[in-house]
C-alpha cells in the first residue's frame, strides 16, 4: 500500500507541470496524429501550446493519438463527453475518423481538420480544414523556376523534368497539377519533357534522375514534389558531373535548406509547422466567434530561394 501511495505521489509531482484550470471563454481540444514521430509534428505541438497559452480566451486540451486510430477515436469521444467548445483533429487515418467526427458534429461541437484533410465523405461533418494549399505550392514552384530561367535568359529554350510524389497521394497529385498548369502560363516556351514518380523517397528519386540524365543530354531544370526527392535528384546530377541544373522542390526540408546554402539547389516552398499550428488554432477561434471561415482555410506557404533564404530560419525536419 505504501508503495502505491508513493507511486501516486510521483504521479502527482509529474502532473504539476500541467497548467491549472481556470474559467475561460473557450475550451478547444486537439487530437494530434503522432507527436514525436518527426520533428515537424513535434514543432507543431510546441507551437500550438505556445499559441494557446498566449491567447487568454482559449484553454487547450492537447492530446496525441500516438499514430493509433483507436486511441484517436477514444480521444474524440472523451472530448465530446467533456463538452469542449471545438475539436481540432490531425487525422491518423482520413477515413477511419469520419464516424467519430460525425459524432462530434451531432453533439454540436464544430470540428476543424488540420494539416491533412479527411476523406470527402466526411466533409459534411467538418466546419473547416486548415492546412497547406498544395496546388498553390505547385504553381509557386513553377513561378520560382520560370523567374530563374528568365534571369538566366534561357526562358525560351529550357527543358524541365519533374519528379512527383507517391501516386495516389492527394498531396502529390495536387502539387503536380499546380506545377503542370502554371508553368506554361508563366513560361510558355519552357518544355516539360517528362514526369516520373519518386514516391517521396530520396533513393528512388535519385534513380529516376539517373535515368533522366542518360535519356536527355540537356536538362535545365528539375521540379521535385518535396525537397527530400529534390536532394536525391541533385545527388544524381552531382554524381554524373552535370552542372548548371536548376533544382526546385517543395516543403523545404533541412537537407534542401543546406543544399541551398551551398548554392547547389535553387529554391523551394517554405511550409512551417508553426504557421500550420497557429492557423489551426486561429481557424477554431474564428469558427467559434461566428466569423465566416472558408471550408478550405489555407495558411500561406511562401517561396524560398537562394536570394531570400536569409528571411527564413532553417527547418528543423
Amino acid at each position: 500500500m505504501e508503495f502505491r501511495n508513493a507511486l501516486a505521489a510521483t504521479t502527482v509531482s509529474v502532473l504539476t507541470l500541467a497548467a491549472a484550470a481556470s474559467a475561460q471563454a473557450w475550451t478547444i481540444g486537439i487530437t494530434q496524429n503522432n507527436v514525436g514521430v518527426d520533428s515537424y509534428q513535434t514543432t507543431y505541438e510546441k507551437a500550438f501550446i505556445a499559441a494557446a497559452q498566449a491567447n487568454s480566451d482559449v484553454e487547450a486540451v492537447v492530446l496525441d493519438a500516438g499514430g493509433d486510430v483507436a486511441r484517436q477515436i477514444a480521444q474524440m469521444e472523451d472530448l465530446i463527453q467533456q463538452e469542449v467548445d471545438a475539436i481540432i483533429i490531425w487525422p491518423t487515418n482520413g477515413e477511419a475518423v469520419i464516424p467519430a467526427v460525425r459524432k462530434a458534429q451531432k453533439a454540436g461541437i464544430p470540428v476543424i481538420v488540420t494539416n491533412s484533410n479527411i476523406a470527402e465523405e466526411g466533409f459534411p461533418f467538418v466546419a473547416s480544414f486548415s492546412g497547406p494549399d498544395n496546388i498553390t505550392q505547385g504553381s509557386r514552384a513553377a513561378e520560382i523556376m520560370c523567374d530563374k530561367f528568365k534571369a538566366m535568359g534561357i526562358e525560351n529554350e529550357a527543358r524541365v523534368v519533374q519528379i512527383s510524389g507517391q501516386p495516389g497521394y492527394t498531396t502529390a497529385i495536387e502539387r503536380q497539377k499546380g506545377f503542370d498548369d502554371r508553368l506554361p502560363e508563366v513560361c510558355p516556351n519552357v518544355n516539360l519533357v517528362e514526369t516520373q514518380p519518386g514516391d517521396w523517397n530520396r533513393e528512388k528519386s535519385q534513380k529516376v534522375m539517373e535515368a533522366f540524365l542518360v535519356k536527355y543530354d540537356d536538362i535545365d531544370g528539375v521540379y521535385a514534389g518535396d525537397d527530400n526527392m529534390g536532394v536525391g535528384a541533385l545527388n544524381a546530377a552531382k554524381a554524373a558531373g552535370r552542372d548548371g541544373i536548376i533544382f526546385v522542390g517543395a516543403t523545404n526540408f533541412a537537407v534542401g535548406y543546406e543544399a541551398m546554402e551551398r548554392g547547389e539547389y535553387w529554391g523551394s516552398i517554405y511550409q512551417s509547422p508553426v504557421d500550420d499550428a497557429e492557423a489551426a488554432l486561429q481557424t477554431a477561434i474564428d469558427v467559434l466567434s461566428g466569423k465566416e471561415v472558408p471550408f478550405l482555410n489555407y495558411f500561406d506557404t511562401p517561396k524560398i530561394t537562394q536570394d531570400n533564404m536569409g528571411d527564413f530560419t532553417k527547418p528543423v525536419f
Binding site: F3, R4, L7, A8, T10, T11, V12, V14, L15, A18, A19, A20, A21, Q24, T27, V35, G36, E59, V61, V62, L63, D64, G66, G67, D68, V69, A70, R71, I73, A74, Q75, E77, D78, Q81, Q82, E83, V84, T92, N93, G94, E95, A96, V97, I98, P99, A100, R102, K103, A119, E121, G168
Partner: protein, 333 residues
C-alpha cells in the same frame, strides 16, 4: 485465517483496489487540473471507459487462457489487422455486390474465419513442432504483418458502411455495442475457464505439464484449441472496432500484443502459467484504459501515460512477488 488465503485475497483484490485508487485520484486531481466542468466519474465517461476497453479487452480474455497454459501469443496485433482488412475489403467484393447490407454478416463471418485460421496455424505449429510459443508467434507476428503490407502496401484499406457504423454506435440498455461484446466474451470465457473440463485442464497444463500429460490430458490439441480461441477473439475485436471506423492502416494493431499482455499481467496472471483469473484480467484491462483516460483528463501527455503504466506494471509484479514469498513463509510455519 488459513495460510495463503490472505495473500491470495490480496492478489485477487489488488487490481480492484488499484482501480478504486485511480478513480479517487483522478476525481480529486480532475477537480484541480481538468479543463472540463464534468466530473471524471460522470456516468457517460464511465460508459465510454467500458466501450474503449473493448478492443484490448476482448483479446485479453483469450490471452489469459494462453498464459494460464504457460504459452504466449505475440501475433494478436497482426491477426487483428488482417481480420480488419478482410472485414472491410470483403464488403466491396463484386461477388457480394447484389446483397446490399446483407453483406455485413458475411464479411463478419469471413473476418472471424480469418482469425480462426491464423490462430489454428499458430496452434498447429506449436503442437507439432514443440517449438516454444514465444518463438512461433514472434515469427507469425512478423509474417502476418508482412501479409498486411502485401495486401495494400502502405495504403489504408477503407470501406465506410453507415448501416454498420450506426449499429456499432448504438446503445442498448445504455451500454454501447462494443461494451456488450466485451461483457459477453468475458462471461463466456469465465464459464469456459471455471465450469468446463477444458478450463480445468488449462490450469493443470500450465501448473505442471508433465503431470498433466501423465494424467492423460492431450496437451497438443488442448493448446491448439486455445490458439484458435485467441485468433477468433483477435478477429472479433477487429470486427467490433472496425464496424465503427471503416478504415484500417497497415500498422493498426501494432503493440496490441504488449498492451494485452500488460493487462493480463496486471490482472495477476503468471507469465509461467498455472494461475490467472478472467475477472482479474477484466480489471487489468479497465485499469489501463482508466489510466489513459484519467491522465488525458488531467492534461498529461502521452509519454507520461506510457511512463506511468510501465512503472505500475513493475510495481504490480514486485508486489505479486512479495506476496508470494510471504505465502510460502507462512506455509513453512
Amino acid at each position: 485465517m488459513q495460510a495463503g488465503t490472505l495473500s491470495s485475497f490480496l492478489k485477487r483484490g489488488a487490481i480492484w483496489g488499484f482501480i478504486v485508487l485511480e478513480l479517487i485520484f483522478f476525481t480529486v486531481a480532475g477537480e484541480f487540473l481538468s479543463l472540463s466542468d464534468k466530473a471524471f466519474m460522470d456516468v457517460d465517461n464511465m460508459l465510454l471507459l467500458f466501450k474503449q476497453s473493448a478492443p484490448i479487452g476482448i483479446i485479453a480474455m483469450g490471452m489469459t487462457i494462453i498464459m494460464v497454459n504457460g504459452n504466449i501469443d505475440l501475433s494478436v496485433g497482426a491477426t487483428y489487422a488482417i481480420s480488419a482488412i478482410v472485414l472491410l475489403d470483403s464488403m466491396t467484393w463484386p461477388v457480394f455486390a447484389g446483397l446490399g447490407d446483407w453483406v455485413i454478416p458475411i464479411s463478419w463471418g469471413l473476418a472471424l474465419l480469418t482469425g480462426i485460421l491464423l490462430g489454428a496455424l499458430n496452434g498447429l505449429i506449436v503442437w507439432k513442432t514443440g517449438v516454444d510459443a514465444f518463438i512461433v508467434t514472434l515469427g507469425s507476428m512478423l509474417g502476418y504483418r508482412g501479409l498486411v503490407f502485401m495486401y495494400n502496401g502502405e495504403q489504408p484499406t477503407s470501406h465506410l458502411n453507415w448501416t454498420l457504423v450506426d449499429f456499432a454506435e448504438a446503445q442498448f440498455l445504455g451500454l454501447h455495442t462494443a461494451t456488450w461484446f466485451l461483457l459477453i466474451v468475458t462471461a463466456l470465457i469465465w464459464l469456459l475457464m471455471n465450469r468446463t473440463v477444458h478450463g480445468r485442464n488449462a490450469y493443470a497444463i500450465g501448473d505442471n505439464r508433465t503431470a498433466a500429460i501423465n494424467a492423460g490430458i492431450r496437451v497438443g490439441p488442448h493448446m491448439m484449441i486455445n490458439f484458435v480461441i485467441i485468433g477468433f477473439l483477435a478477429a472479433l475485436s477487429a470486427v467490433v472496432f472496425y464496424s465503427e471506423s471503416g478504415s484500417v492502416n497497415p500498422n493498426d494493431g501494432e503493440l496490441y500484443e504488449l498492451w494485452v499482455i500488460t493487462a493480463v499481467v496486471l490482472g495477476g496472471t503468471k507469465l509461467t502459467g498455472g494461475a490467472g483469473s478472467i475477472v482479474s484480467t477484466f480489471g487489468g484491462v479497465l485499469a489501463i484504459q482508466l489510466l489513459r483516460k484519467g491522465l488525458a483528463h488531467i492534461g498529461a501527455d502521452t509519454e507520461t501515460v506510457n511512463l506511468v503504466i510501465g512503472l505500475i506494471l513493475i510495481a504490480v509484479l514486485f508486489l505479486d512477488r512479495q506476496l508470494n514469498i510471504k505465502g510460502k513463509e507462512e506455509l513453512k510455519v
